[in-house]
Amino acid sequence: MTAFLIIFIAALLAVSIWQITKIIKLGKSPDPDTEMSDVANDIDNKRNGQGMLVFVVAFYIMMIACFIAYKDFFLPDAGSKHGAEYDNLLLLTGVVIMIVQFLTQALLHWFAYKYHGKKGQRALFYADNDRLEFIWTAVPVVVLAGLILWGLFSWNDLMDANLDDDPLIVEVYAYQFGWKIRYSGADNTLGDANVRFIEGTNALGIDPTDADGMDDSVAQEIHLPVNRPVLFKFRSQDVLHSAYMPHFRAQMNVVPGMVTQFKFTPTVTSEDYRNTEFMNRKVRKINEIRRQKSKELIADGDVALDPYEFDYYILCNKICGNSHYNMQAKIIVETEEEFNEWLSTQETFEKSLAKAKN
């Protein structure tokens, strides 16, 4: 990959040096120093026209090189049910975009080269053509209509946070600069909460008078059972945050003063996701980078970096203050049994309330 980058930079540098030498050469060409000498002449037209042609070729090479060199950057297959649909729509849109990009850039730069000015060349007085205008209005209309329709159907499905399929209801609570997760317990109903109830260990402001909240429990990381729909309810204690879970293709802002929501079904356990071929390769690569960096760190008398093991994560994606860059929590997707077992070890609000009284 690095080789690609180096070749790419070298190519670009070569192009720029080539252009500069040409331009300097031009500066020396016997150009009569008339008042028109800072207006492009035929030589300028030709050189810059050729420059356009070379540029567009280099540009295509760069685009292709980016797609090859950075293919690992694309997120792996989604770990959620709707994610596959999302990825298909993204792929289709991406293909449409790249086709248009390749065609229009080719035309633009080719014309710039082909019709570069020459003395005596006559431009064609061609002011309009209704048929052409119609074509390039209609084609985008049709293509976009297709994309819009697909997008809107997916959007409606995605945002329809209904309770028909008995989703697990979970609250994700954001604050400067971390996340807490509240589980709704056996009744699958979250107790009322408000910042005005925040006191002592009741950091999420659960209403102590609401019976629904008694079996709620609060955790530092998100555990989710695989293949069960999860309805996330988001609440913020201070400023705007955004709950971004890229591997599930899920994101929702967290807004103080209101409850926002997002529903999805995780389909791959953390274990399985970690062991996909893509993730293995990616983590190996990352650990290699970390080993190299650790060597430098140790040489400087610093602590080495820990090796990395993949876990799903949630991160904050809306500027929220100085430590915005490190507001994260782990997400663990596991089997139903593992999840239930873990949940049973969590302290309920009722118990922690009782403890606080003692």
Partner: protein, 607 residues
């Protein structure tokens, strides 16, 4: 060649009673009411703000490439904000915020539209000045004051505003949430309020001038596309800027007078605040009601300039003049009803998201029409590769590249996973940042001879263009892929997520390109300053253009034309027009300026 260019100064020189009065230094250069001088004031102020804004972006990129590493540059420029030369996370966010604010408002709104609307509207429609020279002067000086306050806010004790250029409350409303939300934020809001006043005075003036002061024969359908763009831009500004003013005012009240427009249920620093019942989403709506039209306020003038320059240098009429005007109008209309696409995941009703997806993707249609028309304008032309022309071609290229990714971002479903990632940064920098800057450069190179009566050095211009073209794509094309990895914007460092470790090389590469591109701008700076004083004397109409500004002669007088204002007899795009005998309409020249009456054997066309 130049036979038909300069309008003869005949004896009804003073028939409109205009007198050229004595000017002092102060009335000529400082409190000038001459639109040409005001345009230059906007240009120079905008350029200085541009230098500051771009320098900030370089500092940010240096931090991202070498996170938390000491740098002499930081130590020198940031002082106490970079203890031991390591940038503080707070100041990183401040740089993000002020870079955005300066580039969007002070460079691309005031610097671009302010410069060229002021300079070109009276000259191209055949007016002696703006409808109100005085208000025009006030507009510039309000802009100057707001710029001075914005720069001044960099030096306050707790630092400048740092809540992002969108200043979403509660972060921007609560000094407890971040130090930049103290006095820095107050100054930001005051500066923006003054900026809005400046912008409104300017816009009202442009609209009134275009409607009322066109010379005889200059019907709306004979206006150059530049004027159409400025005119419509001004209207969008008048419609949307007051809404930002309302948002700023309500935010000031929430901050200082205890109201709760945007605040509710907040617990911060161990205390529950009294605010109850407000909604940050309301602020987002108000902000983006301006914020989205704002990107069109930035890009439409660039589109106008580019249309004009492409036609002139292709020696061809702009293709589809009426379609171009129609698409400007369509873009303007749609731009005011798409703001919600910034808020798909804000928590607003998902049904609204559907509506905004629909309108957003609609706006791609007039944009596509414009792109195709520009490309067709080049087809079978006789392209004169002046620097302005190169930047115009570059504009079309980056506008397409950046615009296409808008189809992903404008789709509410796809936006979910790329929202607020570097993919967005790449998208909007290409489509409105770089493109608008290219439009700006094209405009400066093209109208420099008119502004200063001297030519800019073309070879330096070529070097500037090619280095910028390569550098800008080098910065923003790879950035899409970083965004596809889900890397959030506005992160001080990415090292807390090992998952992003393999992006570090690419981030360094982007930083190198950013530095490279910024350094390349020195070619422009040198060329610009040098040419003002030592450039070659400009011919009266160096690009052989049809529009009226090239008919004034080389004396810069308040009132523009020494003699009578020329009348207009045709549209501005009669390039390479042939008569019935297949000869150029005016023998020996491939253009027919607007003030030339219909020639014998010439067919009149309705465009």
């Amino acid at each position: 060649m130049g036979q038909a260019v300069a309008v003869e100064h005949d004896d009804h020189g003073h028939d409109d009673g205009h007198h050229h009065h004595k000017e002092t230094f102060v009335t000529k250069y400082i409190f000038s009411q001459d639109h040409k001088m005001i345009a230059k004031q906007y240009l120079i102020t905008g350029l200085i703000m541009g230098v500051i804004g771009i320098a900030m972006s370089v500092l940010m990129r240096m931090q991202i490439a070498n996170p938390e590493q000491p740098s002499v540059v930081f130590e020198m420029l940031l002082g106490k904000w970079a203890p031991d030369g390591v940038m503080d996370p707070g100041i990183y966010l401040a740089l993000v915020t002020i870079h955005g604010t300066i580039m969007v408002f002070f460079v691309l709104t005031a610097g671009l539209s302010g410069t060229f609307s002021n300079f070109l509207i009276p000259l191209q429609i055949g007016a002696r000045d703006m409808a109100s020279g005085f208000l025009n002067m006030v507009s510039y000086w309000l802009f100057f004051v707001s710029a001075a306050i914005m720069i001044g806010s960099l030096f306050v004790e707790l630092g400048p505003a740092a809540a992002g250029w969108t200043v979403y409350p509660p972060l921007s409303a609560l000094p407890e949430a971040m130090s930049g939300s103290g006095l820095g934020m107050t100054l930001w809001l005051v500066s923006m309020a003054i900026f809005i006043a400046s912008s409104l005075l300017g816009s009202l003036n442009y609209v009134v001038t275009v409607i009322n002061l066109r010379t005889k024969g200059m019907s709306m359908t004979r206006l150059p596309l530049t004027i159409w763009a400025f005119f419509v831009t001004a209207i969008i500004g008048i419609v949307s800027f007051p809404v930002l003013f309302a948002a700023a005012l309500l935010l000031i009240m929430d901050r200082s007078f205890g109201t709760s427009f945007f605040l509710s249920d907040i617990y911060i620093k161990g205390e529950v605040l009294a605010h109850q019942g407000g909604s940050p989403v309301l602020f987002e709506h108000l902000f983006w009601f301006l914020g989205h039209p704002e990107v069109y306020i930035v890009i439409l003038p660039a589109m106008g300039l580019v249309s004009e320059i492409l036609a002139t240098n292709s020696r061809k009429p702009i293709f589809g003049y009426r379609a171009m005007v129609a698409s400007i109008l369509a873009i303007a209309f749609l731009s005011t009803i798409v703001w919600g696409h910034h808020m798909f995941v804000s928590g607003m009703n998902p049904f609204l998201g559907s509506v905004f997806t629909f309108t957003t993707l609609l706006i791609a249609i007039p944009s596509a029409v414009k792109a195709f028309n520009w490309i067709t304008t080049l087809w079978k032309g006789n392209l004169q590769m002046n620097t302005a022309m190169l930047f115009s071609i570059g504009f079309v290229s980056t506008f397409i590249t950046g615009g296409l990714t808008g189809i992903i971002l404008g789709d509410s479903t796809l936006d979910i996973n790329v929202h607020d990632t570097y993919f967005v940064i790449a998208h909007f920098h290409l489509v409105m940042g770089i493109s608008a800057l290219y439009g700006f450069f094209a405009g400066v190179y093209h109208w420099f001879p008119k502004m200063f009566n001297r030519m800019m050095d073309k070879n330096l211009g070529y070097v500037h263009f090619w280095l910028t073209l390569i550098g800008a794509y080098g910065v923003f094309f790879p950035m899409h892929f970083v965004g596809m990895a889900g890397l959030p914007r506005r992160y001080y460092t990415n090292t807390n997520f090992p998952y992003f470790d393999d992006l570090a090389d690419t981030n360094s590469l982007i930083t190198y390109f950013a530095i490279f591109t910024s350094v390349a701008q020195l070619f422009f700076a040198y060329n610009f300053v040098k040419s003002i004083f030592y450039g070659k004397k400009a011919p009266l109409n160096p690009w052989k253009s049809n529009t009226l500004e090239w008919t004034t002669g080389d004396k810069h007088i308040h009132g523009n034309w020494a003699g009578a204002i020329p009348h207009v007899h045709r549209w501005p795009y009669d390039y390479s027009k042939l008569n019935e005998e297949d000869e150029y309409v005016i023998a020996g020249q491939d253009y027919v300026p607007q003030h030339i009456p219909l020639q014998p054997k010439e067919e009149e066309m309705n465009h």
